[in-house]
Symmetry: C2
């Protein structure tokens, strides 16, 4: 008995559910999938067992028009089921999945530019309905359009609570590594969809080292089966990114070959080629490998963004560069000014910086891990920066030199747009070396006070301008 | 006709002036000096020609008691003049010249500890009586006990004014490289003495690259004669330090061998072995050479102090680490908070940091170069830091690790005293790992607000303490 949708929007999700065998262990014993066809084009997609005799295959069509499908399975009652659906125009706000654009930047599949403004709530999805709803309410008002989040629960300081859901079925004191728990995945999927509703990409962290349950040290075949199951369930969600790990280099049990293999499995299994990365603690994974789509970096110095761009020739996303907060741990107590400064340092060098927040909380609800509400001073300024970037030229900025001497970093779009940043320095005046062929309006931006003052007149070539003589000032020049 | 003083205090200045030949060029033609004797000990000292037929030899006695002297000269009327004087106890505030103590620190000759708290007014001594007097009035109220200053005048942005005095006599459009101008030196000496009155060491910069008069490119024999003349005139001033250069590596005409030679000439000529250093722009001179007494460093990262201590095994004095100010030049526009932070970063790693200030001024009177008055926010906080250090154990601090985890740098004196610094971070609590054998009083220091709050009770071993949760906090633990 097929349950199907007859109309699916472009980059929406088609889902076919069939009842099939429950004997033995369907997770291991039954192969199930489908081939989706549009004209002569065929896309082979893995399905998955969803428990209680239910077999599901999902598909994200990328072309408007008539699609058909035919299942294939090792179980005869699941094999050869055929059907069709109509792919229609996407609804408002659905721009498709994000991909790399122009080497160092990102765009949605429909061509709309995507400027990542990320935050991290590692295990907000393991905190129960009430807090998860609060996190979503906070996100609805926050400037973030990407969320880093872990699939496995987290064991760490401030993270002692036991989660409700686990990806594997319990077996005695441990886990049945051959049986997934569909309840965990249904819950996860509902949250990924909720993020999508808010226009937020879900940067899903597939492995991490903060573990007391055994998920950081599973056997290789369990790792691989887990990855394939995840991809089968979630790759049809348009807002999914695959992050192989958080701090992969702290996972002692895994080798470089393991990480290469995880990447390849995800790459082979995902028909849509969602973005793929891996996040370091200390040394970087070799981001030049072909399966890495962008650099997901932890580093204290976003000032090095231009260097990393050059090194790997891929977008630089600094997902972690210390967090605004006041906890004793050394990475979690920078003031809001410093968090905002790091965003600007990375931005004017052609990269994308991520936010995190770690203020002590009586119930250990720190945004960085559990979500909840934001307490810090940086999100408002990050929203201000996001507005400036979105108000700028339609494709990402690239670093240039010499615009404010060699002193201050500057991003540009051709010779139409320049955005320089004075960081903590407080010059009361500066030279600007603008192209002579065009005339520019100049704005003085106080990135902390969130003010923009446009200078009178237009400017060209070498000019001297006054500045406020205080920290955190940026200068924007736009061709008129 | 000898003019002599019969009583000289220890580390004071004995001066003998004799009239002699004026024919030819006495600077070049006449050798003059004296041997000073205390018991069987003899100290040979070079004299100098002071113009208008006057020959002078100066001496700084270091032992209380009866001293005698005998001149020697190539001019018969200056040769063999004998005399004696009594060296008496030093007056209050006279602790003798400063030397290195305990590898990384400094002390006066009488054993009193000297903690360098430097500032820089490169050519305050070339600004005319009125401004020079203002600078001295400012210094009398300021926290500084070392002044970096250039002997030659300075040509640079904000430094267009022509000085009144030059070390050489004019000759046509240029200089007579064989004749010094005593008026220049008298003026300089009066200012060095004025600094001494204020308890300020004069870190005299013998060469520098900011030049429009030809002093940066003199012939080697002129360089050498200039050095010997300077040392003959000034080595008897107890507060003199010899800095071979500012930004030696920007003086393209000079080779490494030149710098080695300058050091050796000064070392050979100075009977008192005043401190010797050379200051870099980019790469360091090899501070391990035997004639270098301490590291005079320009670097943006005082966080590297401990590394430099280990590298060269000599005191680290970071004379320049950007300046508080608002000028457009990249090294001169950090906010006061950052200047103070750099002082603390260096201090808690066992080094000594120097101050500079570059605020735009309608008449180009920037403290960094011309002196005048201070306008910034850092001197008050530097005074606060100096008070804390002087209030600490009687010999300099050395870096230790692990006292506030590996997170925060900490200086210590044995197990009696710890001073850790949180920099811009704003933890609201921290662990402290104190020795278990002693009990400690703990102070929370707000280095910007200049407050010290002593926690109730005494502490030992591993303890958790609350912190204000704001930037620029230090923690001090003192054994009770």
């Amino acid at each position: 008995m097929a349950e199907v949708t007859n109309r699916v929007e472009r980059w929406g999700r088609f889902e076919l559910g069939l009842d099939g065998p429950q004997v033995g262990n369907p997770f291991m014993d039954v192969h199930f999938g489908a081939v989706f066809s549009y004209g002569h084009r065929q896309v082979e997609v893995a399905g998955f067992y969803d428990g209680e005799g239910r077999y599901v295959v999902r598909f994200m069509p990328d072309v408007i028009g008539a699609w058909s499908y035919r299942t294939c399975s090792s179980a005869s009652e699941l094999d050869g089921v055929e059907g069709a659906f109509e792919c229609v125009a996407p609804s408002e706000g659905n721009h498709g999945p994000v991909g790399v654009r122009d080497t160092f930047h990102f765009a949605y599949a429909d061509g709309e530019i995507y400027y990542p403004v990320g935050t991290t709530c590692y295990v907000w999805n393991h905190q129960g309905d009430e807090l998860e709803a609060e996190t979503l309410r906070t996100l609805a008002e926050a400037p973030f359009n990407k969320m880093r989040m872990c699939l496995f629960p987290k064991h760490y300081r401030f993270n002692a609570n036991e989660p409700e859901f686990f990806p594997f079925e319990r077996k005695g004191e441990g886990w049945d590594w051959e049986r997934f728990d569909p309840a965990y995945f249904c819950h996860l999927e509902s949250l990924v969809d909720a993020l999508s509703e808010l226009g937020i990409e879900a940067d899903l962290i597939l492995f991490h080292p903060y573990d007391r349950w055994g998920f950081a040290g599973m056997a290789a075949e369990v790792d691989d089966r887990y990855l394939r199951y995840i991809v089968a369930r979630l790759s049809s969600f348009r807002n999914v990114w695959w992050s192989m790990a958080n701090e992969f280099d702290l996972m002692r049990a895994k080798t470089e070959a393991d990480w290469d293999r995880y990447f390849r499995i995800v790459q082979e299994s995902d028909p849509y080629h969602h973005l793929r990365s891996v996040h370091n603690c200390r040394g970087f994974y070799d981001h030049s490998r072909p399966w890495v789509t962008h650099q997901s970096i932890q580093h204290r110095l976003p000032e090095r963004t231009a260097e990393w761009r050059q090194l790997y020739g891929k977008p630089v996303v600094i997902d972690e560069t210390q967090y605004e907060g006041n906890i004793p741990l050394q990475w979690g107590n920078i003031p809001p000014q410093e968090m905002v400064r790091k965003f600007w340092e990375g931005t004017v060098r052609g990269g994308y910086v991520g936010h995190g927040e770690t203020y002590l909380h009586p119930d250990d609800i720190l945004w960085w891990s559990k979500g909840g509400t934001l307490h810090g001073g940086s999100p408002a300024r990050i929203a201000f920066l996001r507005g400036i970037i979105e108000d700028g030229p339609a494709i990402g900025l690239d670093p240039v030199s010499g615009v404010m001497g060699y002193r201050f970093p500057c991003a540009a779009k051709g010779d139409d747009y320049f955005l320089a940043y004075c960081s903590i320095m407080q010059p009361a005046e500066t030279e600007l070396h603008l192209p002579e062929a065009k005339q520019y309006a100049i704005d003085i931006i106080d990135t902390w006070e969130m003010t923009i003052v446009t200078l009178e007149g237009v400017y060209s070539g070498d000019v001297e301008i006054k500045l406020p003589g205080k920290p955190y000032v940026a200068v924007r020049a736009r061709a008129v």
